[in-house]
């Protein structure tokens, strides 16, 4: 818990709200005056600062403020989750947004049709956050909780990081479905590694890479949605005729065409040549027949009947 030196009365309204949210203090529904937030702040946070931060006290305080009679008194952990759930549905749109900003998650417009979804997402963020699997590694203690959360959820809006631990929440069927899917893509890359290396050294190295570099992780996300698509395209291409078949078919067709052309050439060439031969023969015959009478007429003409014919 941070130690505040400043006077809370000088905080901006927004900051007061954020502080309250950060300390799990349920905000009053709807917009209220700054004084209301200030009172809440002084009541809970200042008190918590003075006394040691005991969860019992927090529970009491929350019970007072939540105004929800249904808050069950069981274990403390469950109590906290419960109160988070209450908060989520009571937050205004702005507060919901602020809550996501606290986790570094980008949210789209919170409108009537999307609000329920964001509420549930926030719930999932809130619930499993304290118990992600990396915390099991010993060296993770060197990093403060808040920093961790920021690293995890700050990568990208659709980072489903803390999701898998969401066990308790609403409809068990849906949450299971929801959980199984992220496990497939991102989490199998991140969390199982953390599990397999109990030394924690690799875990500490992984975390800075995630947080500081940020980019390699972000590159992963645009890739993931793309990859199924490329797979589909590849399959589409495979479903169409493969390349070698295309080549073979082309060759076969080309050979066929060539054969046909060759056959046609033969059959065409013959009549043409025959025709040409005929023509030349006829021409020769005509020449012969025309030259014959000249040659016959010019000499002294022993064959008289020819001239008589003319």
């Amino acid at each position: 818990m941070p130690v505040f030196v400043e006077d809370p009365a000088q905080f901006s309204k927004q900051r007061l709200k954020l502080e309250l949210v950060a300390h799990n203090v349920p905000l009053p529904a709807g917009e209220s005056k700054k004084q209301v937030y200030l009172d809440l702040y002084l009541k809970y946070i200042a008190k918590n600062k003075a006394a040691d931060f005991s969860s019992d006290e927090e529970d009491q305080a929350q019970e007072d403020a939540v105004q929800e009679p249904s808050v069950s008194q069981e274990e403390e952990g469950q109590q906290n989750e419960e109160s988070d759930k209450m908060d989520v549905t009571q937050l205004t749109d702005d507060e919901l947004k602020a809550e996501f900003q606290k986790y570094g998650v980008k949210v789209g417009p919170i409108v009537a049709s999307t609000r329920a979804l964001y509420e549930r997402k926030l719930q999932r963020l809130l619930d499993p956050a304290p118990q992600p699997k990396q915390n099991g590694t010993s060296n993770a203690d060197q990093y403060s909780d808040s920093e961790e959360e920021d690293d995890e959820s700050g990568c990208d809006c659709e980072h489903p990081g803390p999701e898998p631990a969401a066990v308790t929440v609403t409809e068990s069927d849906q949450s299971q479905l929801r959980d199984s899917r992220p496990m497939k893509d991102v989490l199998t890359e991140m969390f199982p590694d953390a599990d397999r290396t109990p030394t924690g050294i690799s875990a500490t190295r992984r975390r800075p890479i995630k947080g500081a570099a940020g980019r390699p992780v972000q590159f992963k996300y645009p890739d993931l949605p793309m990859s199924p698509r490329t797979v589909e395209q590849q399959e589409l291409q495979q479903r169409l005729v493969p390349l070698w078949v295309q080549v073979v078919v082309f060759l076969v067709v080309a050979a066929l065409l060539f054969l046909i052309y060759g056959a046609m050439e033969d059959s065409l060439a013959n009549p043409f040549s025959a025709l040409l031969d005929n023509l030349s023969q006829e021409a020769e015959l005509i020449e012969d027949s025309s030259s014959l009478p000249d040659s016959l007429a010019s000499p002294d003409a022993p064959p008289l009947p020819v001239t008589g014919e003319e």
């Binding site: 999307t114 979804l117 479905l177």
Partner: protein, 90 residues
């Protein structure tokens, strides 16, 4: 995801125009009717919701399951379809 339906390919192939919700892959008669009751009668209204959720496939699938009672496969199919449509035409 592993194999795309004919409906998926048809939808992704061209601008959606005024197509009904049932043109979306994964949305059949029953889900289409349910969505129409919710006011999502055209494919573009569903696209609007998809865009509101920042093209987040996870969130959209969840929404679709809530709204229309689709199962996981249908929801994934539909969101994948919209996502690819957006990649191609937005």
């Amino acid at each position: 995801m592993s194999n795309t339906s004919q409906k998926h390919r048809d939808f992704v192939a061209e601008p959606m125009g005024d197509k009904p919700v049932t043109a979306l892959s994964g949305i059949g008669e029953v889900l289409g009717k349910k969505l129409e009751e919710e006011g999502f009668d055209k494919a573009y209204t569903v696209l609007g919701q998809f865009l509101l959720l920042r093209k987040d496939v996870e969130m959209f699938s969840e929404w679709l399951k809530d709204t229309s009672g689709a199962n996981s496969k249908q929801a994934t199919s539909c969101s994948q379809c919209l996502k690819e449509w957006c990649d191609a035409f937005l």
